[in-house]
Assembly symmetry: C2
Homo-oligomer: 149 residues x 2
């Protein structure tokens, strides 16, 4: 008998004991649904985050944005090109240093942010529907306390 019964459910007990395994599965669900939610707004997960950081930190440079997003400067170039092309942010100049840009959201960027923020809240309401308000807050706070590398 070398055949695994086709009607027997596959188990993953070995893996379910790990926090990381459950985190990966949960994150992939979040990522997939969030991508679908942001796509009609012309945003990706990373450009949504970039828009948020720029909005909250006006006149931030690309290098500092890279730090905030935990990606390389080279990646930020594409990201900022994307947001600038969509007229959601602009590359202002810095007096006294012609190397760097001062990134700021445009009016359209502000509007887009508010729209996206609402959409993402709705997305989370759906995805975390089985969790109470308190449980969602607990989950968020526990995730925040995971050691950063």
């Amino acid at each position: 008998m070398t055949k695994c019964d086709k009607d027997t459910a596959i188990t993953d007990q070995n893996l379910r004991q790990f926090v990381g395994y459950n985190m990966k599965r949960a994150f992939l669900s979040v990522r997939e649904d969030l991508a679908n939610v942001l796509e009609p707004l012309g945003l990706r997960m990373t450009s949504f985050s970039a828009l948020a950081i720029i909005r909250e930190n006006p006149d931030i440079s690309q290098s500092r944005l890279a730090e905030a997003l935990h990606i390389e400067r080279s990646g930020v170039v594409v990201l900022v090109d994307e947001l600038e092309s969509a007229d959601l942010i602009e590359r202002g100049r810095v007096e006294g240093d012609r190397r760097q840009y001062a990134l700021r959201t445009t009016e359209a960027g502000e509007t887009k942010w508010k729209e996206a923020e609402r959409a993402v809240h709705a997305h989370e309401d759906a995805l975390f529907h089985d969790l109470s308000t308190e449980e969602r807050a607990t989950l968020r706070d526990l995730l925040r306390r995971v050691r950063r590398t």
Copy 2:
């Protein structure tokens, strides 16, 4: 004044309100550290998971392994090649159906799994060091309850 003060910390309040943002950051930390932990064992995150599933579901087929791992069958081929080359699993034949394989761990695979399981437990102990045992269990259970797409 168009310059963002270099000494002022960048804030991410807009994003921190979302569970998904914190989940992404936490997951990237987990993934990076886990990759480092598994590398010396000759495993990647996915091959670790595959080894666990095969061990727990002896004689599973590649198609059913794909389902369990939530990846495509084409991806499983490479994964199984990898584990078979390392002599951690073997492709057994199924009597009555020459299309499919019956995947099973080898002795070396069993040993490797136990070694990896210990290493991953140590990795999680380090990463979730700021969480109590109860909090880790809570985190794991909350993640498990996120809606699957």
